[in-house]
Amino acid sequence: MKTFLILFILLLSTATAWCQTCEVTGTVKNLHNQPVADVIVKTERGGRSLAYTTTDQQGRYTLRFEWKEEVTLIFSHVAYEREEIFLKEHKGKQSQDVILIPRTITLREVKVKAPSLQLMGDTLSYNLASFLGKGDVTLEDGLKRLPGIEVSGTGAIRYMGRPISKFYIEGLDMLDGRYNLATKNIPAEYTSQVQVLRHHKEKKMDADEESANVALNIKLTKKAKFKPFGEPIFGAGRMEKKALYAAGVTGMMFTDNFQTIVSAKGSNHGDFGSYDMIDHFGNSNVSSLATSKLGKWGGGQPPVGEYRHQTNGYGSLNGILKLDTTRQVRANINYTYEENRNSFSTQTIYLGEGLNTSITETTRPWTRLHRPMLELKYEDNATNHYFCDNLRVKAQFEENTCPVSTFADDSSPVITTLNHQHRSATALNIANNFQAKVRIGRQKWSLTSNVQLQRSPSVVLTMNDLTEHAQSTSLLTSHSTAYQWKINPQWRINIPFDFRADYQMVETKQRVSGWNITPSFYPNTEWRSPDQRIYISMVATLRWLHLHYTHCAYSLPCLNPAATFRYTFSGESELRLNSQFTTSVGDILDLLTTPVHTTYRSVSAASGIIGKQQKWATDLNYKFQIPYQYFTIVANASWNQGKRNTLTAQTVSGTDVANASLLQHSHFRSATADLSISKSYIPIHTKLIFKTSGYWGTNESVSQSLLVTSYNYGFTCSGEATYNPFAWMQLTGEGRYSKGYTRRLGTIDALDAVTAIGYFALYPIENLEVKVNTHIVRQQLSATQHKSASLLGASAQYKTKRAVWKLTLQNLLNTRRYAYATYTATDCYTYDCHLLGRTMMLSCKLHLVKGAKE
């Protein structure tokens, strides 16, 4: 019985197998009876492949598969028509020979997406040509197109929300923070690649150190290298009844070892003659104690429209020479001239005790400044040592007038008083920075020495019959040395020591001078996990402040801890947390107790107490990026809280305002959060950006002897889209909505604003761009009042190989006023700014290359 059962089971299983397995064999040939190799032979049911094989060099195939029900036997090859045989019955083994008919290949193509993105570790390389739009002329135009990169209205470049720390051209840093000179003058077509250097370390020997910096390196095409080329530009136009002009010339040369940019521009309209000289790293700022105390008068800057009459110009000579693979010398000589004037009306409401005080004024500030600057830099940047010496000499000669008309009341057009105000200020800065760093095995030694002289021989304010004088001298010295020991690949310790000795003197109606001597010791340690995903750093800063000023001796030891935590999920996403406790103290200006007039109706007097502030600040940052899908997310959150030993106090009496500091503790807290998402669709030249942010903060101050705790909170949402539906059309739209609240003393003031910006560009023929842009704003001025403004502009640009012609029309609707409101802790300011009228400008930018032929 047992034997019978086994035999039965065996028979049953064999029968089942015979029933299910099917084998098809055969040969595939073409019309010439030649075997066809690499033909895909497969069975398919309901669109799903079940089994497959390919033919060998002799065109033979054998396909086995499980038979369940009818299947289609398919023969496919790129160069032949597809052949299908329907197998209805299960025959176990069967033969199917097939003859294929040749066909012309008609594959559905997929075009190369962004043929220009390379990711090599921390370096992201964009091939700029692939991203350029038809109307793009300069490198700056091209940068605006790149995913993850933003270029602000002043030309500042940010990558994933972080400002760049260095701007290189072919690996050389010629311009420092004045990189507008390159982005505005190098033609986009001369740039082959834009490299984003993430986690950038400017010192080669620091390659293994932590850095969150981002730098940009511009790679030029061959035609931009080894021969000089120039970009003269000329323009003429008309605004209201005034003739406009613009003229400039820029010459450039880039070789492997030498680079230079020489440029001069001048104009009496817009920022044509000053834009290139904007220093994004702040190294061109010229400051002094006297100019800080008696600051210049300006006024509200409306967020839209041209509101200033400007005349500006500059001359710039920049060169960098690479002496060998590590050493280089750089020289920058710049001179900037700026003159501008504008006018606006303000209504200021000061919080009063039971009764608010309102003042209405019309202000017409005018400023003229000359700013010469010389910078020399020597750098030796090797993998085992770093030496650098940087000398900067800069000066600023400034003249400022600010006539202010006041009115009898808010609604009266009758001027009651015309107040004259005049300011002249001179400031000189000379600074030398020396750095030396050496690596010996796992140890690094560094020495840094900074010496800076800030001198302001004269600042004079004349306000009606009042005159204020100030002068100041500061000699700021800071010397530090550090030792770093890399115990193992995970652990390292740093032991830096810093000694600061500053002599400061400031004189207004009162003269104060003295020394600030502060030794600091800030040992820190860093740890990385073996897989490098986790990074933790901790520092404890020990400072001992010694202030020895006239009639004031102040000493304060302080301990400031800080910690950083970074977690890298993958090469695409990263989380970073920073938290630090800081103690900051005031300066010599806190001792100027004698009241000083800073405007015709404002008096400022310091408390005579050295201010002290203690603050905890925590930042959380998350970044996610998929470069090949041009998708980025950046999210940030921060929290600050702290206290000060002084309280700012404001007293308004009639139209006079007195500001002072009281010896009373005050507290502050604030929180911010923002999110930015960007996505680019390269085949249709589309870039989408969405941003949102929120803030909350509280502060304390005294107004009219009343302690005021104010709360500010609000949010902003914005979206931006650039879309190319057709090759001859481009649409760009931006929308922004913001709402802000200020709450104090039981009242809440809310302000909202809606902004819409649109660009519509047409390319009717090659090289011609016709563009129309509009800017619409609706802002809330008070609880019941909103005000709208619309601006319309147009331009036409025609490009030839040698020249770019551009006709620009601005403010076609002749909108002459723009109003907006802002709140501070205790006051409300409503501005009504005067805008420039209809403007027309025709410009021509030539492109000169030595040896180039049309």
């Binding site: 190799a37 690499d38 492949s49 079940l50 997929v110 090599m120 570790g121 690996g171 293994d208 995903r533």
Partner: protein, 284 residues
């Protein structure tokens, strides 16, 4: 004399033309562009990074050739000679072969790559990968695709193929699916290939014999290469196996503000400052 000179010139031109024809082993029917991404770590800092390289695969009637897209673009679209291109090439950084021929010689695959100080040409049998077809489907790069899983070179690969393009081609050495491979990932999440583009381009697939290339059995070569590059000393000194007596000519190029590119006897070698941990595509 002038006639003789002209005849000589014509002869030389004909020779050049002959040599080009001689080197052509097939004509491409279409070209596939793949993006390859490799997740690894920096040798110096250990920081997690992703390197990418764009690859072009010329698909002929018999032979396929894969190379870096930028080289392909340079040679094919800009009609440049196949000269040595110095620079920081992505395929070098990724330690990807210079080129891979499938079905050349017939039934075999040929790979060219360099290990300082010598170039190598390795031939291996074109063993068909046994792909297990799965029911999962997806649309990738606009093509409807089906999933398949197979083993190759000691790694498990998950691929998506499209039968809309009836070709067994794929990126690198991956091939043999019942349709073009559109996307491929290894099971460890280290290597990733994805189709970027497909264009119909008919250009010669050339193969110039290079006698200076060292030939070695495939299994032995993989063991030799992985032994060198996977050694912990590699990230400390990327050519630690060289000795002082080796006759090697080193050429260095500056690439970017802090990156160096070095060629040893014309073969790319990572600089110790930017060497990555080697992630072999083949484990055996």
């Amino acid at each position: 004399m002038k006639r003789l000179f002209l005849s000589l010139l014509t002869g030389m031109a004909a020779l050049c033309g002959f040599s080009q024809t001689k080197d052509s082993v097939d004509v491409s029917q279409f070209t596939i562009v793949y993006d390859y991404a490799c997740n690894t770590r920096m040798g110096k800092t250990g920081e997690a990074i992703t390197d990418t390289v764009r690859l072009a695969v010329q698909v002929g009637t018999k032979v396929n050739r894969m190379m870096e897209y930028y080289w392909y673009d340079y040679f094919i679209h800009h009609h440049r000679q196949e000269e040595t291109l110095h620079g920081l090439w992505s395929h070098c950084v990724n330690m990807m072969p210079e080129c891979v021929y499938t079905n050349l010689p017939e039934g075999q695959m040929t790979t060219r790559e360099g290990i300082v100080p010598k170039p190598y040409e390795i031939t291996e049998p074109m063993n068909t990968i046994r792909w297990a077809l799965k029911d999962d489907t997806a649309t990738i790069a606009t093509y409807p695709c089906q999933k398949a899983v197979g083993e190759f070179g000691g790694r498990t690969w998950t691929v998506f193929y499209t039968d809309e393009v009836p070709s067994t081609a794929g990126p690198w050495k991956l091939h043999g699916c019942p349709g073009l491979i559109v996307k491929a990932d290894d099971s460890e999440g280290i290597h990733h290939f994805e189709l970027n583009a497909l264009v119909t381009e008919h250009y010669p697939i050339t193969y110039t014999p290079k006698p200076d290339h060292v030939k070695m059995p495939h299994d032995k070569y993989v063991k030799f290469r992985n032994g060198l590059f996977c050694n912990p000393r590699f990230v400390q000194d990327p050519h630690y196996w060289l000795s002082a007596g080796d006759n090697i000519q080193v050429q260095s190029y500056m690439w970017g503000p802090t990156d160096w590119v070095e060629y040893y006897n014309g073969i790319y070698s990572p600089h110790k400052d930017n060497v990555r941990y080697y992630q072999p595509l083949e484990l055996k």
